[in-house]
Symmetry: C2
Subunit: 184 residues, 2 copies
């Protein structure tokens, strides 16, 4: 960010009055341009004892498997975004349940949130951002070909919680921070 989106003047990086952090400040029009983390919202689409995954047709991690998820858009809620991404990427209509995991990825300036979701029918199809979409039993999950640490962690928590029988009751959101060094 070099130029003011409001007036095209060159921006200054400085700490505004009444602030404690450096911001992109426009001396010409007086505006301050804050930057904030973005939310990635997705679902864990469950059909019976299977989970729906998408193989990515786009970078990053082209060809790797992911839970359906994407950037939250203006004007929608986190759960609506999760349902929308599931429909767009996996062609699946889901009933969205409770928030299941919240993973902070500070080095990517992102927060990832996954909702439990159920599919009434095994109907799905690859959207434009997916090469293929498929249902997996736990023993079929392509653990070595998952796209992101947040997807791997969410699936690990999910299968452990399912085995422990806690998903049908109350539970805290599963949450942790992802480190820059984490690789699949």
């Amino acid at each position: 960010m070099k130029f003011c989106p409001n007036c095209a003047a060159i921006l200054t990086i400085k700490i505004p009055a009444d602030d404690s952090r450096e911001r992109h400040v426009c001396e010409a029009c007086g505006s301050i341009h804050y930057q904030n983390p973005r939310n990635v919202v997705g679902s864990i689409p469950v059909y019976g004892d299977q989970v729906l995954l998408c193989r990515r047709a786009i970078e990053p991690r082209h060809g790797y498997w992911t839970l359906p998820a994407g950037f939250m858009e203006l004007g929608e809620s986190t759960s609506h975004g999760a349902a929308r991404e599931t429909l767009e990427e996996a062609g699946a209509v889901v009933r969205v349940g409770p928030l299941y995991s919240l993973l902070n990825v500070p080095h990517a300036e992102q927060v990832h949130m996954f909702y439990l979701a159920t599919m009434a029918y095994p109907e799905f199809s690859a959207g434009e951002e997916s090469l293929e979409v498929a249902l997996f039993h736990e023993h079929e999950i392509p653990w070595g070909e998952l796209a992101f640490p947040t997807v791997k962690q969410t699936l690990e928590w999910f299968f452990a919680d399912r085995a422990a029988g806690v998903l049908s009751g109350e539970f805290h959101v599963r949450s942790r921070d992802v480190l820059p060094s984490e690789r699949i």
Copy 2:
């Protein structure tokens, strides 16, 4: 957003290839400038059976009471942001517990998240953005002078859950969308 933050050219609003929504696109340098909701992170600071609130020294809602909360910054996690805001606005060091509420405010392009938090000592002080800070028993909460619907809803959930004895066990995140028409 009128000018490209990268090259200062005038932006075009159009639907990029492989997208389904209008974006701010720069025809000069090819960059696409996405806009996404921002997270507001805060805490419910609990000392014994009291909750800590701040009276706002800034707009919007100058003079009204709020839970300590503010915009999540780049490079931090949601829980770190909640602890930071609690220290900055209320001068209180808290131990942050589980995520308690997640409220979508689509018309404000915001997601509000509040963490349960405990204070080891009744030590607090008004930060620059607060006129005063005080501990409240449930019957003392200034319900008619709260700053935001998300704060009111979170406090209502909190006291109901505390009365029901569920806060010490597992619980789903309390979550709903706030409507544009909602007023305190």
